[in-house]
């Protein structure tokens, strides 16, 4: 009883599939530049992980080539051919079994050694002196405090280049994860626990980060930015951050201040030096000098501030910022006030 044995043909049919697959693979790496890439390290922490990854990747490629190669050779060499040899009945080979148990074990040891070394560095407390930054995750924004410098800010973290930063992490609500890919791995931010991550950034620049643990409706919109700058510039920023809120420089801004203080805003926000001492939402004392607003998702422009204040849930679904119905004029004034808070 033969089952319609059709001899398989080598040629176009057999090669098209694999060739297409290879092309797809090659295309998979396109679409740069990648400003948030883990493959573009910019800190000691990131470099350690990159070096480790490269070592593992090398072995992965070796194993891939050998095993896929053996598979492909087997397929092509042993396809049944009419009149071809009958297969020799074999049941096993203990020597072979031992060899191909030990060989992967050896490769794994070669991967395990640098792994364990790196684990013991990155999971241990930071050596020497650090600048401590407390990062507190909220649904859906980041609070940053510098306890030794008396600074409280949100969503934009500034640090001096070349200075070891010791980030102490916790959450005010659910589990989030703190991740700046170019600066290293992520660390989960867990309510009821304090976790830690530390790194020294090599070069000045803007680094992009994002929450990396599903935390509800607007998880995808919980971003943050880190600006690494020359120590002198950082000093200047820190001094500015410590000061109380700027006095309004225009009538519009002053009206906005009044609307802000009399509206519900002070229930959630702090603007140091005013009656606004709310701690539920981000500290806005110097919001005017931030690059972005709403946790890294909107550029800090007049238009975006208006959009945000008018209807936060429109920008960030589920946002806990409750804003009453405001007329256009009031919104304009509050925006002017915000932009003034540099």
């Amino acid at each position: 009883m033969k089952r319609g044995r059709r001899p398989t043909r080598a040629g176009a049919r057999t090669w098209t599939g694999p060739l297409l697959a290879l092309t797809a693979l090659a295309l998979g790496a396109c679409g740069g530049p990648f400003p948030q890439s883990a493959l573009d390290p910019a800190s000691d922490f990131a470099w350690r992980l990159q070096d480790l990854f490269e070592g593992i990747f090398f072995w992965a490629v070796v194993v891939f080539v050998l095993v896929q190669g053996a598979l492909i050779v087997a397929i092509f060499r042993f396809r049944e051919r009419p009149g071809g040899p009958s297969p020799k009945v074999t049941h096993g080979n203990t020597l072979l079994e031992i060899s191909w148990t030990l060989a992967p074990a050896v490769v794994l040891v070669l991967i395990a050694i640098p792994t364990i070394k790196t684990i013991w560095i990155v999971d241990s407390p930071p050596p020497g002196e650090s600048l401590v930054v407390e990062a507190i995750g909220h649904q859906w924004w980041w609070e940053f405090r510098y306890p030794d410098l008396g600074i409280v800010t949100a969503n934009e973290m500034r640090i001096p280049v070349g200075q070891q930063i010791d980030v102490r992490l916790t959450s005010a609500d659910v589990v989030h994860s703190f991740w700046f890919p170019r600066l290293g791995g992520k660390r989960d931010v867990i309510p009821g626990h304090e976790t830690q991550i530390w790194f020294t950034v090599d070069s000045a620049g803007l680094y992009l980060g994002q929450c990396a643990e599903f935390c509800g409706l607007s998880h995808a919109l919980m971003k943050m930015e880190l600006v690494a700058e020359d120590p002198a510039d950082f000093e200047a920023w820190a001094n500015g951050q410590r000061t109380e809120a700027a006095i309004s420089d225009s009538a519009v801004a002053a009206d906005g201040a009044q609307a802000f203080m009399q509206g519900g805003c002070i229930a959630c926000h702090t603007v140091r030096g005013t009656v606004a001492q709310g701690v539920i939402g981000p500290d806005l004392t110097h919001v005017g000098s931030r690059r972005r607003i709403a946790a890294g998702i909107l550029d800090n422009t007049e238009e975006n501030l208006e959009r945000w204040i008018r209807n936060p849930q429109d920008v960030k679904p589920g946002a806990l910022m409750i804003v009453p119905e405001l007329d256009n004029e009031t919104v304009r004034r509050i925006v002017a006030y915000m932009r003034n808070l540099k």
């Binding site: 790496a29 042993f78 049944e80 009945v89 792994t115 364990i116 990155v122 867990i190 009821g192 990396a212």
Partner: protein, 609 residues
């Protein structure tokens, strides 16, 4: 002996009348493992398509940056249900379909040890699947991920019934799975044919046994977690409330102590399928049978020791991270051993290049890739960049789709002729294979890069300018073709049902006992239970194996009669769940009443009537 075997193998394909005949009631009350297997298979495939649809919607949303096609609320339900559906309502029941249909035949038995319990497991799964999906119509589907991390799942952060649907649905599915696992453990240990020692059992049966032990030991861990979560949500306890001394990490540990063995529950049956197909289509026995068996056992055992590799970013400390990195790397060894043994089986064989082999080879190839990315995650420090990104999404789909689904499709092409008595088209099968293979890689390979370039997972959108656009678009296009490739399979099945060629007992010249019966087997499987003296009874010559599965001189064995009570009992449980969901105590009591009545009737109903 072999002559008798050969005659039996040529046995009539006309004995299928009776295997599936009868109306709806006969299917509702069936206790026949073959029918239960078919019902599992059809349900699982339906939910596979549903989970696939959820995936396609996800991919449509992610095809362009900052898309407003699907809002985050719907998106979060979609990715949660995609994961939950694929794991619990598609892959596990699809494996169960094969356990059910094939294992009793492979061990030379007439059914499983507890046929009514078997029916109960199916109906409970089916009703639980409907229950969970009903959530879409009653306030929204679960939306906190298939892993449901506390304290996002608390009533404070997840008000309403969505998470309750999830908790109750999973608890009920757990009962179904544990019952089925116990059934298969007893069946395999006790009902093997004369002469079939453990080391003569087919590999698929071995993997079923190991998977069943995994189910029995792993599910209680998630059940504990679900009970604690249910109590937090319904009765105001504080197990996972960090403000009151509870710990959200307790959930993570309990979930992953289950969750990691769960992925081996998903994988091992597929490994079993491929271990059956490769020898048959190489025309030589499986190389290193014992090593393949022991590797399976070792994978299952080690699988309980790796769970915290899902928690490498939690900050468990260097000792824990080192230990779990080591155990996770260790598990790669038995996995590799299996792969090498399959290649050694192919080597020197005479490969029958037909669809079941294509899918098996595709499985091995894709699983190698998924396994290698897994080794990359095993390094706790390197994983700090990879975890919670699309790099992991790529890994899981390479092992679960490129791996498990390809293996299960191989099983479908291999065993559907036995199940239906008709052949699928090999031409259409190969077309399905190639389109699926290429589109699968187009969909998921770029995701490795997306992850490494900084795209987190479970995000309903991404900002433009981060370099994610091109690869997401590519992945989306690939996914659409991948979805379409299922249509080829469905077309093949429809074509087979209408005009498929008769399969005969053993179209693939297989060596294991299921191929000694007619296709489909008569409802009693074997008139005379076989005796075996080797691992490959249908290939063996002069080994004393005896098979007279359909000896005409022997009267038809009397099989256990149908029963409505398993379904009724399952209904009782679902009613209890519905009462718990809506916190209406009277409904819970009605459910208890139905459950007790069902169990009472079940216990007292005679096996034959």
């Amino acid at each position: 002996m072999s002559a008798t075997g050969a005659r039996a193998a040529e046995g009539g394909s006309h004995s299928h009348e009776g295997t599936y005949s009868g109306g709806l009631w006969s299917w509702i009350t069936t206790v026949d493992h073959k029918r239960i297997g078919v019902m599992y298979g059809l349900s699982a495939f339906f939910f596979f398509l549903m989970g696939g649809l959820e995936a396609l919607l996800i991919r449509l949303q992610l095809g362009s940056p900052e898309s407003t096609l699907i809002d985050p609320d719907l998106y979060n339900q979609l990715f949660t249900m995609h994961g939950t559906t694929m794991v619990f309502l598609a892959i596990m029941p699809l494996s169960a379909a094969f356990f059910n249909f094939i294992v009793p035949l492979q061990i030379g038995a007439r059914d499983v040890a507890f046929p009514r319990l078997n029916a109960f497991s199916f109906w409970l799964f089916f009703l639980a699947a409907l229950f969970m999906n009903a959530s879409f119509l009653f306030g929204g589907a679960p939306d906190a991920g298939w892993f449901g991390y506390a304290n996002l799942t608390s009533t404070q952060y997840s008000p309403g019934m969505r998470i309750d649907f999830w908790v109750l649905g999973l608890m009920v599915l757990g009962v179904s799975s544990i019952a089925a696992a116990l059934n298969f453990i007893v069946t395999i240990i006790n009902l093997r044919a004369e002469g079939m020692t453990f080391m003569r059992m087919p590999l698929f049966t071995w993997m079923t046994l190991i998977t069943s032990f995994l189910l029995v030991i792993a599910f209680p861990a998630i059940t504990v977690g679900l009970v604690l979560l249910m109590f937090d949500r319904m009765f105001g306890t504080l197990f996972f409330n960090p403000l009151a001394g509870g710990d959200v990490l307790l959930w993570q540990h309990l979930f992953w102590i289950f969750g990691h063995p769960e992925v081996y529950i998903l994988l091992l049956p597929g490994l079993g399928v491929v271990s059956e197909i490769i020898p048959v289509f190489s025309r030589k026995p499986l190389f290193g049978y014992a090593f393949v068996v022991y590797s399976g056992i070792l994978i299952a055992f080690l699988g309980f020791g790796v769970w915290a590799h899902h928690m490498f970013a939690v900050g468990l400390g260097p000792v824990a991270n080192t230990v779990f990195s080591a155990t996770t790397m260790l598990i790669a060894i038995p996995t590799g051993v299996k792969i090498f043994n399959w290649i050694a089986t192919l080597w020197g064989g005479s490969l029958k290049m037909w669809t079941p082999l294509y899918f098996s080879l595709g499985f091995i190839s894709m699983f190698i890739i998924g396994g290698l990315s897994g080794v990359m995650h095993a390094s706790a420090a390197a994983d700090l960049q990879q975890t919670d990104t699309y790099f992991i999404v790529a890994h899981i789909h390479y092992v679960l789709f490129g791996g498990v689904m390809f293996a299960l499709f191989a099983g479908m092409y291999y065993w559907i002729p036995k199940i239906t008595g008709r052949m699928l088209s090999d031409r259409l099968g190969k077309l399905h294979f190639w389109i699926m293979l290429v589109s699968f890689n187009v969909t998921f390979f770029p995701q490795h890069f997306l992850g490494l370039h900084g795209m987190p997972r479970r995000t309903f959108t991404y900002e433009s300018g981060l370099g994610f656009e091109a690869m997401n678009l590519m992945s989306t296009v690939g996914s659409m073709v991948l979805g379409a490739s299922m249509l080829i399979f469905l077309w093949n099945v429809l074509r087979m049902l209408r005009k498929g060629e008769p399969a005969g007992a053993n179209p693939w010249e297989g060596s294991t006992l299921e191929w000694s019966t007619a296709s489909p087997p008569p409802h009693y499987n074997f008139k005379v239970l076989p005796t075996v003296h080797s691992r490959d009874p249908l290939w063996a010559e002069d080994t004393g194996d005896s098979m007279h599965p359909d000896d005409p001189s022997v009267p038809e064995p009397h099989m256990p009669g149908p029963s409505f009570f398993p379904l009724l009992t399952a209904i009782g449980i679902i009613v209890m769940a519905a009462g718990a969901l809506t916190t209406t105590l009277p409904v819970v009591f009605v459910g208890v009443g139905v459950l007790l009545f069902g169990v009472y009737g079940w216990a007292l109903q005679p096996l034959e009537h």
